[in-house]
Amino acid sequence: MLEFCDVSISCGATPILGDISVCFEKGAVTTVIGPNGCGKTTLLQCLNGSSKVTSGTILLDGTDYLAMPFKERARCISFLPQVRTIIPALPVKTLVEHGRFPHLGFSRKKSEKDIAIVNDVMNFTHVDAYAAQYADTLSGGIRQRAFFAMALAQDCDYIVLDEPATYLDLKGQRELTEMILQLKNQGKTVILVLHDLGQALRISDMLVIMQDRKIAATATPKECLRQHIIEDIFDVRLKEFSDGEGCYYFFY
């Protein structure tokens, strides 16, 4: 379980979030949603130190997460940031291998286990066909999958993905959904930021809804629908359709 207890967070010197308390259940898929600029990214960025926690604590399965050394943190939570300012001119395989960095000792030698994990995640994310191609020559979608593979190569119990569906076409998004559900079945805890509310409602066990830099609600998708939380906060109307295969949501 990942618990934020009265956490205040700032970016640089600017305070962004104050006294946030929220809990992410172990083994579940939790999605943070909310209108643009409500602080979703800032909230999660403090997990890799891109935004600074100024007060409060974060507990990871009961231990003080912020007291851990950086490497140790990267072995517990793999966090894939949203923005790609740099597209490295590296072969996809080399990029994915960087995911093993927090596990390498001082000699930085890859073990057989490292090699096996890299092969596994490349297989899992379907980027093995692009192993030798350079990341900067690939399309946005495949590149995104390569970064996803790199994050999975960290082999953490907690996987945090900030807007993983950006750059993905419809098929890519469907495959991403499948991969996330598979990860959950493997016992991983997945925390997401998503803009597609329909996708969020379909795949999440729990939704964390943010508004005006506060946690507005924490609820299961069913409750959200029943209490009209999403409609209130996003100022939209929602229709739900279901057939034998699942539920579909329509916003207008």
């Binding site: 891109s50 950086f70 943190r73 923005v83 300012t85 001119a89 590296l90």
Partner: protein
């Protein structure tokens, strides 16, 4: 890959023999061989080889190695393919510090490497600080570097004019020259360069992760501020020490990393040692050619490097096909 590295090593050895054999007094391979194996200790060839040619070759090797690896490091740390000791003002910072040390210290030579290192470090920290504060684009960093360079070069010129006693030939200092190098002059900077280079190799993987951008580097558990500071210090030692004895050699720190990127890709574990090898050969080759072309006149190594390196770099830039595009 292995073949290419082997070629670089062969080039290095070839340059060494060229550097020792050729010059205003050409030596025959036989006499050189006899000197190197310890015969003929009293001959003029022996004296020439051990007091002039070999120290000079060693100086050229160290200069090329130091500047090229410093360039690679700066490119990673600034995430900018145009960064090099010359373009971001590190060389000028070191040069200014050298002149200042000569000016204030009555021409004591032993402190020059330390002064140059400090000058280089202060300049690179300043440039990085500027870039960080302004959250600036790649172009801004280079512009800031060019501005700082020209400011510091003005300082160098001012000191030289105010104190005419300074025992430095300003033209060859600012363009970079290897004439008059002795083993004694090389002792301190040479040791520092070799040590810094070996430490750099230990950091290659961290440097690679730093190259993925700050956000991802942090996600992978890299202590970004610490690694960045260490890398800036290492690159300052490498570039500063070279400037302290060879002057402000330009170009090698920019083009050698780029040539190596095209040959070996963007993995710092290969890029660092290969740039060191190629940089060493390049500087020694240019120095030897400079001594030969208009003998008995001598063109400083820096001039030759610009003559050869400039057009070659343009050729690389224009030739898109086949090679790898330069990493942003």
């Amino acid at each position: 890959m292995r073949k290419k590295i082997l070629l670089l090593v062969l080039l290095l050895i070839l340059c060494f023999f060229a550097g020792v054999l050729l010059g205003s007094v050409p030596l025959s391979p036989l006499s050189v061989l006899r000197c190197l194996t310890g015969y003929d200790k009293d001959s003029t060839a022996y004296v020439l080889i051990y007091t002039v040619r070999i120290p000079r070759a060693a100086g050229a090797y160290l200069a090329g190695m130091g500047l090229a690896t410093s360039g690679v490091l700066l490119q990673y740390v600034m995430n900018n393919s145009l960064a090099s000791p010359n373009t971001i003002g590190v060389n000028s910072g070191a040069g200014f510090a050298v002149m200042l040390a000569l000016f204030l210290g009555n021409g004591q030579v032993s402190r020059l490497p330390a002064a140059a290192f400090l000058g280089a470090l202060v300049t690179s920290l300043a440039i990085f600080g500027l870039a960080y504060m302004a959250d600036s684009s790649r172009t801004t960093i280079i512009l800031a570097g060019i501005t700082v360079s020209s400011f510091l070069n003005a300082g160098i010129n001012t000191i030289k004019i105010l104190d005419t006693d300074i025992s430095v030939n300003l033209t060859s200092f600012m363009i970079g020259s290897l004439s008059g190098i002795t083993f004694d002059k090389l002792k301190i900077p040479g040791t520092a360069i070799l040590t810094a280079f070996l430490i750099t190799l230990l950091f290659a993987r961290s440097v690679n992760v730093l190259g993925l951008g700050d956000d991802i580097a942090r996600s992978l558990g890299l202590n970004v501020p610490v690694v960045r500071l260490v890398v800036l210090i290492l690159s300052s030692v490498l570039a500063g020490c070279v400037v302290s004895y060879a002057g402000m050699l330009s170009f090698v720190g920019l083009i050698v990393p780029h040539i190596c990127r095209r040959l070996f890709g963007n993995d710092a574990r290969y890029l660092l040692p290969c740039s060191a090898l190629l940089g060493a050969s390049f500087v020694l080759g240019c120095d030897t050619l400079g001594r030969m072309l208009f003998a008995p006149f001598e063109l400083p190594a820096g001039v030759l490097m610009s003559f050869i390196g400039g057009p070659f770099f343009l050729y690389l830039l224009l030739k898109k096909k086949g090679g790898r595009r330069i990493n942003a």
